[in-house]
Symmetry: C2
Subunit: 251 residues, 2 copies
DNA sequence: TTGTGTGAAACCGTTCACAGCA
DNA sequence: TGCTGTGAACGGTTTCACACAA
């Protein structure tokens, strides 16, 4: 940094906790909104509220990046936007390919927030020959045969898999073999990848199931049909919500 | 349970750790696949591999549900499928509404895995009057005006928000006011909800940014242009990836 | 002998509370 | 005085390692 004498990097760069990394985009979004409203500075309290976290967590998170911020005042919005962007690697261009241009793939290609923040859809790839050449979100779909060439020509290191579950592992292997080292997986499958390749998954079905779990608990508590404090009660009698155990039983 | 004498519930039901709950759908998926292949039993090792976790974690997770499983043998697949389904609340029907039928909303409506596992798309809702009546995934889109009535008539407690960011908070408030207590949010905004309402968010842009962070780190390590072990080196000179700090600087 | 179930230890993330700087 | 930056306490999660049941 040219003029950054007052800001010593301290714990610089090595070992930002994963939980913190996952929140940086949240802070960045809140800061960008403030920046657009030309707000010059924010306190940890205000920014935390905008990002939906508590202020202690936010301050701790920022402390891993260095001592940006002025005691008694707060944080300089523009400066923080830059620092977080740089930390996340958003000051560079990330070409991305989307494989599997069904409903979801098309939605992703059209998603605006995708193209903002440094990500650029370099290509859309689908296995269906009938799709080839058809433009989606202004980008012509290319056939899977071209996958390796596309990755190579565009220097793609991030791939998005939006194929059916059955095709995902195979697509993943081709992406990795072609040089992709980060994968965002929308297919409902566990992907096996070699060391050094990052996979993040987004799974609608799993999210819904987690919600259902909590929803069921709420319903159960609400109608407190089981006596409130029964730590070790027998309650052996058949009391399933909708029948009993299925045909097959364990030994 | 009728014949479940051998399986004492132990820690039953109260307080399954959140991290465990989040993995149950993963186990369920792996078990369902085994079930379809008529595999009668699995060891923790095998199932863990299929679910992409390690076996110690899996056993610990299952221990919160009770002592299903036979020492020296493994777990009965069908029985576990049932127990996890019940724990997650998937033995009952969950009507779901999707609000915002753009590219993403349509993709969600068409997503098959959605409709499986107990979730049923009760209605599609959009603010655009031109969409009203148009069928998406075989379900006619209804106008936002009908939102409260739809929630009420169908006893909906889970809502999916796939609107633009600007509309999300307002839609959220209407859903909550109408009785929805679990929300899956695809809009890139922080939603404010009253206590007792669960929100889970899915954010493509955030996932990509997290990948970019790690990707950048890999690139930095690979080309180890900064001398390997320099814990407290000055390195003050301008060395930004693409220029230096922006115009606005902190005090 | 095999593989589950689980205390105990190690690890990570969050919250507290306050010293210290502008 | 106000708000950041951070050590220390806390709580949750993962891993270890082994007793114990089939």
């Amino acid at each position: 940094m040219a003029t950054g004498r007052t800001h010593r990097p301290a714990t610089r760069s090595r070992g930002i906790p994963e939980a913190t990394v996952a929140r940086l985009p949240l802070y960045l979004r809140a800061l960008t909104a403030l920046s657009e409203r030309s707000v010059p500075t924010v306190s940890s309290e205000e920014l935390a509220a905008a990002a939906g976290v508590n202020s202690a967590k936010l301050r701790k998170d920022f402390s891993y990046l260095g001592s940006y911020g002025t005691r008694g005042v707060g944080y300089d919005v523009e400066y923080l936007v830059y620092q977080i962007s740089r930390e996340l690697g958003l000051t560079q261009d990330w070409p991305v390919v989307i494989v599997g241009i069904g409903n979801l793939g098309a939605a992703l290609a059209n998603y605006g927030g995708f193209a903002s923040r440094g990500f650029r859809v370099a290509a859309l790839i689908d296995a269906d020959p009938a799709m080839a050449g058809k433009p989606v979100a202004g980008i012509p779909v290319q056939h899977t045969d071209e996958l390796e060439k596309i990755i190579d020509d565009n220097g793609v290191s991030i791939g998005v898999i939006a194929t059916p579950a059955g095709a995902a592992q195979q697509v993943c292997e081709r992406l990795v073999a072609a040089g992709v080292t980060s994968i965002l997986n929308f297919a409902p499958t566990v992907l096996s990848v070699p060391d050094g390749v990052d996979v993040r998954k987004v799974d609608l079905s799993i999210e819904l199931q987690i919600l259902a779990f909590h929803e069921q608990r709420k319903a159960g508590e609400e109608a407190a049909n089981e006596a409130a404090a029964v730590p070790l009660a027998p309650k052996e009698s058949g009391k399933g919500p909708d029948g009993d155990v299925p045909a097959v039983m364990p030994a």
